[in-house]
Amino acid sequence: MLTHNHEAVRQLTVCNSCRYCEGYCNAFKALTRYRSFDKPTVSHLANLCHNCRGCYYACQYTEPHEFAINIPALLADIRAQNWEQHIKPSGISKLFQAKLWPYLLMTVVFMVLFSFGAGVSWVSSEPFYSSISHSALVAIFLPLFLLPWIALLFGIRGYWKSVGGSRVAVSDIRNALGSAATMKNLSGGQGQGCNYEAAERYTHLRRWAHHATMYGFLMCFASTSVATIYHYIFSLPAPYALFSLPKLLGVVGGILLSCGTAALAVLKWKADTKLGSANRTNGEYAFVGLLFAVSTTGLLLYWASGTSFAAAWLIIHLSLIATFFISIPYSKMVHSLFRLAALCREAQIQRLASAG
């Protein structure tokens, strides 16, 4: 249902006879392999694109030229349509990709649930976990954690099939993770950075902001996982000391995540919306905003504990986390997995080609 397919073919055909942007990213390198662009190919290229915008500012055919080339916007739209199409139910995906209010609404609903349902008082200086019992937390979060992952797994599988992916080799995954870990393609191709927020100038800000966000997120995730292991395997329940592994990971990760998402939001605000997926800007802000709120309220929890805000903070924080987990497959968070899939597929195509 890619309404853009005709337009995609038109624009990509111009690029394919031009190829001036080949050195910017692997989407362009992949493009030159094709002579025509069917839907799977277009989707594959779209999910390889990072929206660095190098190919827009370098293009001699952008509007007002009649060829009206705008590859970053075109591919951003197609990417989002891919997510919406494959992550079911599509209606929910569309809502969360485009709008801000579903996130707000969900957070508020959780706040109400936590305070009334779990019977937690907003004004309390009780220490961290005594506000809400650990088993209550698990009972609420486990399904929240699992259901989205099911939607996500099916979605990625659907995408993988739609682009014609075959059995994955370990080297494909290693390759893909390598590119993702360094955000190789955000280097701009020649290490000059990208044009995301600074129009014709190249900067490294977005790459750094994205790195901070990604690694911050992974550290927070690791912190939670370590804490879970401590809790169940070593019977060491929270709270933890500052120099414990869960707390170190959590604090450093939280700071990185807060700073990274704040920077991403500022960069997005500076950047030209015409070069992104125009109708989904609010959803994108909501997503970085949510990540920022999750990590910042999490960090402030350390300071709030012992004060009379402790319980209120905890409710807000947990509501945000719950919102985040439920929205994972429906928010822009999915870009990471689709991107990984695309990188895997690209590694696979190249491996199969070199194998003859």
Binding site: T13, V14, N16, S17, C18, R19, Y20, C21, E22, G23, Y24, T32, R35, G54, C55, Y57, A58, C59, Q60, Y61, T62, E63, P64, H65, E66, F67, G189, Q190, Q192, E200, R201
Partner: protein, 480 residues
């Protein structure tokens, strides 16, 4: 479009030599590669510079925004350039394409300057990339710009901004005042008004006149109306015309332009690189009477594409049609507009609007003249027709495997050869005498070096080398 772009009649009464304030130390006319190189070089010395660009900001950069590489000599691998490309080999390549029609001293000056240009460009923020796919043959001689010429132009405009160059868009130079070898100022149309702007030095880098169809018609007659212009619509040669009227020495054949055969559906202006069609060597090419007129397989396409512009320009209505069949359809770079595709030749001929009988007869005659032999797409395979005039001397395979594909071809003008003469400091000469403070660079002087023919990537080398010379000489004059 061309009428819309015509500059207003110059109001010569506004030219008041010696009177009025100086707008800057140096005025640079143009906003392409040569102008930007001159402006940056001059501004780096501390001189104040005003740059006049006729185009609006979104179309800034002249033909330079359509380029992809520049040719550069190097003794050892240099950046993205592989192997060695000696100055002698470079010069020999130039002699081959120009058949000796070049100013040896100026040509060698540019060639020797090229490696320096490469380093300088990087310092200004230009980025290079490895040779584009499909152009590996150029990886030794030509350095490709990352993102192409528009990215290069962007980098230079930023550098100009950083250096405090005052950039005026939609500012058209209409005339200059020159008296006794001294240039006093420039008459400029800007914001719907004409202004006389004075400066101590003036650099002219306003390109050729290829977008001025009236002027092209002077040499080509009505045929020029059907020409497509591959680059900017803003290079209309106002300043060149006035310079020649003021007695500047001209150089280059006024009746010649560099034209290639491009897709007939390309826009009238600014179609750029993507409108090229590389199918000719594998095609049968017919005019609109359905007749063949030239050996399509004379040589590999990069060596022949430049003559096809003129060949098509000489056909009725300046149009031709290339027809191929399925077996050749993937042998060349993909084209920007999809080919017209039909299951039978008769249908294709009808869709192309060609006369059925003569066209079919031409193709049948061609098919019958094809001989058996081994086909080699990437080299001269000697697979020639027998007893056909004109013959097709390579890659001659019958057009007989459906579906069939057709493209229309029209002449696409790249640049004009007429320009002004300069000395080795880029100063314009008038009657053999060098002007004190008037410089020229880029396409407007390229005729000194590229008297005829074309060497891929050399336009940008000439513009960079001479733009920098003009800028530094103009600054030297001001700062003295």
């Amino acid at each position: 479009m061309s009428e819309l772009l015509a500059a207003p009649e110059a109001d010569l009464t506004l030219i008041t030599p010696g009177e009025g304030e100086l707008v800057a130390d140096i005025i640079v006319v143009g906003g392409g590669n040569a102008a930007l190189c001159a402006a940056i070089t001059a501004a780096e010395t501390g001189a104040s510079v005003v740059l006049l660009e006729r185009a609006p900001r979104e179309y800034r950069g002249g033909n330079s925004r359509h380029t992809r590489n520049f040719r550069c000599a190097h003794a050892a691998p240099l950046g993205v350039l592989s192997g060695e490309y000696s100055e002698d080999e470079f010069y020999n390549d130039l002699l081959l394409v120009t058949k000796g029609n070049t100013d040896e001293a100026l040509a060698k000056q540019v060639i020797a300057n090229a490696p320096d240009c490469y380093e300088w460009m990087i310092r200004q923020g230009v980025l290079f990339q490895p040779s584009l796919s499909g152009t590996l043959s150029l990886s030794r001689t030509n350095a490709f710009f990352l993102g192409g010429g528009k990215a290069l132009v962007n980098a230079y405009f930023q550098r100009c901004n950083d250096l405090g160059v005052k950039i005026m868009y939609e500012a058209t130079a209409l005339d200059i005042h020159i008296d006794n070898g001294r240039c006093d100022g420039v008459l400029v149309n800007h914001d719907g008004q004409q202004h006389y702007m004075r400066a101590k030095s003036v650099v002219i880098a306003s390109g050729g006149f290829e977008s001025n169809k009236q002027w092209l018609q002077e040499a080509w007659g009505d045929a020029a109306k059907n020409f497509l212009i591959r680059g900017t619509p803003y290079n209309r040669g106002e300043v060149l015309k006035r310079l020649l009227a003021h007695g500047a020495d001209s150089i280059g054949d006024p009746t010649q332009c560099h034209a290639v055969a491009i897709d007939g559906r390309a826009p009238e202006y600014d179609g750029g690189i993507v409108t090229r069609l590389d199918c000719v060597p594998f095609s049968v090419v017919l005019n609109n009477k359905g007749e063949r007129f030239y050996d399509e397989g004379e040589d590999v396409w990069p060596k022949r594409y430049a003559i096809w512009g003129r060949l098509v320009a000489k056909q009725p209505d300046q149009i031709a049609f290339a027809i191929i069949d399925e077996k050749s359809s993937k042998l060349f770079m993909p084209s920007v507009f999809p080919a017209i595709r039909c299951d039978t030749l008769a249908e294709l001929i009808e869709q192309l609007g060609l006369p059925t009988d003569t066209t079919l007869a031409s193709i049948n005659e061609f098919n019958r003249a094809c001989t058996d032999g081994e086909f080699q797409a990437t080299e001269l395979d000697g697979l020639a027709t027998q007893g056909l005039t004109p013959a097709k001397t390579n890659w001659a395979r019958p057009i007989d495997q459906p579906p069939y594909y057709g493209y229309s071809l029209k002449p696409g003008v790249t640049f004009t050869y007429l320009g002004v003469n300069v000395d080795n400091t880029a100063r314009v000469t008038f009657d053999g005498v060098t002007a004190d403070n008037l410089w020229a660079a880029g396409e407007i002087i390229a005729g000194n070096i590229l008297g005829e023919g074309y060497l891929a990537g050399f336009g940008m080398t000439i513009g960079t080398a001479f733009g920098r010379i003009a800028g530094s000489e103009a600054a030297k004059y001001v700062n003295a």
